[in-house]
Symmetry: C2
DNA sequence: TAAATAATTTAGACTAATCTAAATTATTTA
DNA sequence: TAAATAATTTAGATTAGTCTAAATTATTTA
């Protein structure tokens, strides 16, 4: 059985690894966990002793299969709770993170199983991120999604998720009416700043900056030629 | 802000006080929290410094108003979660305690507010215990309930709750089909061991020991003459 | 490639919560 | 009411997680 803190470390290590880095540094983790490098080192030695990570001093860290499985089960719990908060308790998608961060550590297999069933086995959370199954497998990924900033013009595409999960960004999208499931068609692009004029769900006119477009992920969209 | 452990102490002190003891001893608490008396003493000094309890060495302990308010908010959270687990996630009433024990410490006003609303503001939890309102007030108590063992014969009464919350007892009731809301009529009492023959919901014949009857609480029942 | 800088680890300390064993206080009982 | 017993508190230690400051290792740059 792992402590709440150990669970958080495993989860964050997984998430950093997911961003592409093949070896993960002490400082990366310290930044994510919001703690000091020295504390991270201590925890890495502990997780290593438990064989949940492979750790080489001064070099870096990677999850073992056991560690990865635990990380995925925490992410599963987190994303199911987010889904519950948004769908059942009518939270807005920018309000769920901190609560889900607490709820993900509740220990009860049955709770998560029943929750999954109650929510009709959702495949994605409110931000469009895939929910791992009971075995920790991610069956539907955002792989085929691309940033809206790179999508072809004059062709409808569907919002599948976001690349930035910050409250500020989510609130902005919420205000504009953009959420996973929405249909977007790019009308024009201002070549000077790469900002986009859009049609949202076939009716609403919108203009968004390139920075925003880069953080909206869409599918059913061909990549525009460079 | 109080730690999870502090919350548990406050909650247990409240529950012991509720059982009628006007002053609460270190050993009472140690038994409830499942810890050693020395640890309790440490915590009492801490809670006293925070003015959440009144504590006199070698004498005993009582909650202050602030302490009581916190205890009641934890009990509110616990009972709302139990309700959610039973009503929404289809847990049996003997399965909810341990999970609710964890969930009660999740910090989010909004979560509890929305949960309360989602459950249509229940007044009682699945065991028939009253759920304190947002202000920590208990509006409907089990005051008028009496043990089934003391109820008048040949007169329908309604199960309002239980006096024993142990898993064993709840499972036994579940097996017999007894739950809050059931109608019970006492047919006969075996004078030798005070066991009772009952009619459950007007149809099912049952025979239960005095020990069981003492732990089933019922209302709309006159007390039998001694 | 050697010096400067950055990243990481170690050493030692702190807090919260717990424990055991010893000391103290309260209560019971003979 | 004095001795015996029970309850409680104190003293001192332990564990998990964290921290700062110093030492060590890696990387960059001149």
């Amino acid at each position: 059985m792992n402590t709440l803190t150990e669970e958080n470390y495993l989860k964050e290590i997984y998430k950093i690894a997911e961003e592409g880095d093949d070896y993960i540094t002490t400082n990366d983790i310290a930044r994510k966990i919001n703690t000091k490098a020295a504390s991270v080192t201590d925890m890495l030695r502990k997780l290593s002793a438990k064989k949940l990570i492979r750790y080489k001093k001064y070099y870096g860290v990677a999850l073992t299969d056991r560690g990865k499985k635990i990380a995925l089960s925490i992410i599963r719990r987190h994303r199911l709770w987010e889904m519950f908060l948004v769908k059942t308790l009518k939270f807005k998608w920018d309000e769920v993170h901190d609560v889900a961060e607490q709820l993900e550590h509740i220990r009860s297999e049955k709770l998560i199983q029943h929750m999954d069933e109650f929510l009709s086995f959702p495949k994605f959370d409110p931000h469009g991120d895939p929910i791992p199954d009971v075995n920790g497998k991610i069956n539907f990924s955002k792989e085929k999604s691309i940033p809206l900033s790179e999508a072809k013009h004059d062709k409808n595409c569907e919002v599948t998720g976001v690349a930035d999960h910050s409250v500020a960004f989510l609130q902005l999208l919420d205000k504009s009416g953009i959420a996973p499931g929405c249909k977007i068609k790019i009308k024009t692009m201002e070549s000077y700043d790469k900002s986009l004029s859009l049609l949202l769900n076939g009716k609403k006119q919108l203009h968004i900056s390139n920075q925003i477009a880069k953080n909206i992920l869409v599918s059913n969209a061909e990549r525009r030629n460079k």
